[in-house]
């Protein structure tokens, strides 16, 4: 045990003292936020603002209506083509237009669902739906005029609406709106941690094997202790990083609150407070820690076994770790299904089977325990995960013991499994 502690200490300290640890600790939250907001921003920025020519045969569309709407909504530009040429003679290439809309004769009471947007190349569904929405706003003006609905009535039509909010009666804290976001964030964090730190375990084992220090060490400690020390050491590194992030967020939150800035700050602080009161924070934190460690131990030992089996070649690592990475990716796919339907069969099985439960269950828990996830399901999932990682650690230990001193040809998964089930 003393020796395992020594190994844990070395694995932990050599990693935490590295510059890359400090850099990733600082950069990851920024990258994570960047990923979430950046993609949204980029999608907004790079969206095609179509310049659309309108060939109107209905006579409802006027230049003034289009100009008014172009002022209000800049997502596309609609221009009435006055001289009404034949559709076939339209030259998209030589004109300034990206697309044309040919409006056939219309009945204002019926409308038409098959108006064509003609373009030389494909734009995403979003671009066409924006054009559609804009066209419908103009169509609303046409209908309002025909029905003689004045501005005051239009205001009522637009603003007076009924909203429905989902309340889970057995768990009023389970706010579906926040649960969705928190579940997604938790699931993705565990996914990243398993992938990043799992491959760190693999690379660490590989380093010891290719450096040939493995043989020096196994003459002092058992291979299993060596593997366990490495996995626990790296788990502690991940935990340290995670706690630093929490501290980081806490600090920023408090600084923002104390600064007592303007409305935007107040609304942000209010939003966070509402978020915190709307969920069961201690339960989520506990489950997060559990699934984070359980999932890590489950996969890290497999990654360790792979690291022990390969030689110097990184390509070997890729081909052997591919099936494992695949399982983790399947988990993240199941998670997105589980988030939109947290009580469905995918959500249930995904959160019971230990291959996927760390990610899928963590995405469901914010929806409420026992409201969405009954206690027995949570208990079963946890018990199976514990059983699962004990099994994978045992299994990986057997492979590791053989692999760490085996040089030469790259083994296949079949051979690895043979190593694991061979009696000592």
């Amino acid at each position: 045990m003393r020796k395992v502690l020594l190994i844990i200490k070395r694995e932990y300290l050599t990693r935490v003292r590295k510059k890359t640890f400090i850099i990733t600790t600082l950069l990851f939250p920024l990258l994570y936020l960047g990923l979430i907001f950046g993609t949204g921003y980029l999608a907004e920025k790079t969206r095609a603002n179509l310049n659309v020519g309108i060939l109107d045969s209905s006579g409802y569309f006027t230049k003034s209506m289009l100009d008014k709407e172009n002022q209000l909504d800049k997502s596309s530009r609609l221009t009435l083509i006055e001289n009404k040429p034949d559709v076939k003679s339209l030259e998209l290439d030589s004109s300034d237009y990206d697309a044309f809309i040919v409006i056939p004769p219309l009945d204002w009471q019926k409308g038409n669902n098959n108006i064509e947007l003609l373009a030389k190349r494909s734009y995403g569904p979003e671009a066409s739906s924006l054009v559609e929405a804009k066209l419908n706003k103009i169509w609303d003006m046409v209908k309002n005029d025909s029905l003689k609905i004045d501005a005051a009535k239009q205001e009522i039509m637009q603003t007076s609406r009924l909203g429905v909010q989902f309340i889970n009666m057995s768990d009023p804290k389970a706010n579906a709106k926040f649960a969705n976001a928190i579940g997604l964030a938790c699931g993705f964090l565990i996914y990243f941690i398993i992938l990043i730190y799992g491959s760190q375990v693999m690379m660490g084992v590989m380093e010891e094997k290719t450096n040939r220090i493995a043989e020096v060490i196994v003459s002092s400690v058992k291979p299993f202790q060596m593997m366990l020390g490495k996995i626990i050491g790296i788990a502690l590194v991940a935990l340290t990083q995670f706690l630093l992030w929490i501290a980081f967020v806490f600090l920023i939150y408090n600084i923002t609150k104390a600064s007592g800035g303007g409305d935007s700050v107040n609304s942000l602080v209010g939003g966070v407070q509402q978020l915190i009161t709307s969920i069961n924070v201690p339960l989520i934190l506990f489950c997060f820690a559990f699934y984070f460690l359980g999932g890590f131990f489950f996969y890290a030992s497999i990654y360790g076994a792979i690291g022990s089996a390969i030689n110097e070649d990184v390509r070997e690592a890729q081909s052997l770790s591919f099936p494992v990475t695949m399982l983790i990716i399947i988990a993240i796919v199941m998670m997105s299904a589980a988030i939109s339907d947290p009580t469905g069969p995918i959500a249930f099985w995904g959160s019971i089977i230990p291959f996927t439960s760390p990610i899928v269950m963590m995405a469901r828990i914010p929806y409420g325990v026992p409201g969405t996830v009954p206690w027995w399901e949570l208990g079963l999932s946890m018990a199976l995960l514990i059983g699962g990682f004990i099994f994978t650690t045992w299994f990986a230990g057997k492979i590791y013991r053989t692999g760490i001193l085996m040089y030469g040809k790259k083994p296949t998964w079949k051979e690895l499994i043979k190593w694991a089930f061979r009696k000592s």
Binding site: N211, R212, I213, A214, V216, V218, S219, S220, S424
Partner: protein
């Protein structure tokens, strides 16, 4: 050899009995028994793939034997608790490249079972002895190959083990560092450590070892002291430095001419004759003799003879090649 004599046990630091380790494709170690006495430098010889490393890995507790027993100091070997008594330098040297040398030595010594303060003390002692004090904060990747070999040696013997196992300790070392390590090996043996020295370079062993075992294809084919083995396998060959040695011999001569070496004639004494008979015969022939020396076979020759059963002529060629 009185293997089952209890008196004999008490003298042997390491006793290996009928050890077997079979892998899927080969019998790596096939029924090997050895007994190594305290303070000896014991050579474990054999070509590549003979089973030396597998045997060593069982002695160091890395592998479990399929069959057979290992005794350390007369007690059954317990891999978990006995590692502190063994120092092992594998053939493929390995250290953490990015770790500082001092920390690394401290870590590996503590893994062996030393306390931090003990380890510290021993490291300082050895670093002074081998003039490595300035290395403490360097990284292994900054060392030359010879330097890291030296460090590896220090790490192996740091915890003052009873049994030191060195696998090819001189490979990659220049003559200066080789001698430095050789001297330390002698000193350790004098201080009471037992050293097993595994190699396929037989000529190194003749110089250093008192006892050897020859291993081939998983089996021990020979063991004993170097002197006894050479006596046992000598072929009654002598080199004669003389003027006007008769080129053709009649049947009465007590020897036959087998070749020349370093401008000297090499003769084999016929069965039933003694070296003196050769001299008498030659003096009787009026030959002026400058030198007359016995040629003992090298371990290399003995090994080749044992494992390959090659004809005598080829052995002789081998002999002349290796002695030149």
């Amino acid at each position: 050899m009185p293997i089952f004599d209890p008196q004999f046990f008490s003298m042997a630091v390491l006793e290996v009995r009928n050890l077997k380790k079979y892998f899927a494709t080969q019998k790596a170690v096939d029924d090997i028994s050895l007994s190594i006495e305290k303070g000896t430098i014991y050579g474990l010889l054999g070509p590549n793939g003979a089973g030396k490393t597998t045997l060593i890995r069982m002695i160091t507790g890395i592998f479990f034997p399929d069959e057979g027993e290992i005794f350390l100091d007369g007690k059954k070997f317990d891999p978990l608790n006995d590692v502190i008594h063994i120092g092992y330098m594998p053939e493929e040297r390995g250290l953490y490249k990015k770790m500082k040398i001092g920390e690394q030595a401290l870590y590996l010594a503590q893994l062996k079972g030393l306390s931090r303060s003990e380890a510290m003390e021993k490291i300082k002692e050895w670093f002074v002895k081998l003039e490595m004090q300035s290395w403490w904060n360097k990284k292994v990747e900054d060392l030359s190959k010879g330097m890291s070999q030296k460090l590896q040696f220090v790490i192996t013997v740091l915890h003052n083990p009873k049994l030191i196992i060195l696998d090819e300790p001189f490979s990659g070392l220049d003559p200066v560092n080789s001698n430095l390590i050789k001297d330390e090996i002698y000193k350790l043996a004098q201080a009471g450590s037992t050293i097993i020295f595994s190699t396929h370079r037989m000529e190194q062993v003749e110089e250093i070892c008192n006892n050897i075992a020859l291993i081939n294809k998983g089996k021990k084919i020979l063991d004993g002291t170097v002197k006894d083995i050479k006596q046992e396998f000598k072929e009654n060959l002598f080199s004669i430095g003389a003027e006007h040695l008769p080129q053709s011999l009649n049947g009465e001569a007590p020897f036959e001419l087998v070749g020349t070496k370093n401008q000297q004639s090499v003769v084999r004494i016929k069965e039933g004759n003694k070296p003196n008979d050769v001299l008498k015969y030659l003096i009787g022939q009026g030959v002026v003799i400058h030198s007359f020396n016995e040629i003992l076979p090298s371990l290399n020759d003995i090994f080749i003879r044992l494992v390959e059963g090659t004809p005598a002529a080829r052995q002789f060629q081998n002999l002349s090649k290796s002695s030149n």
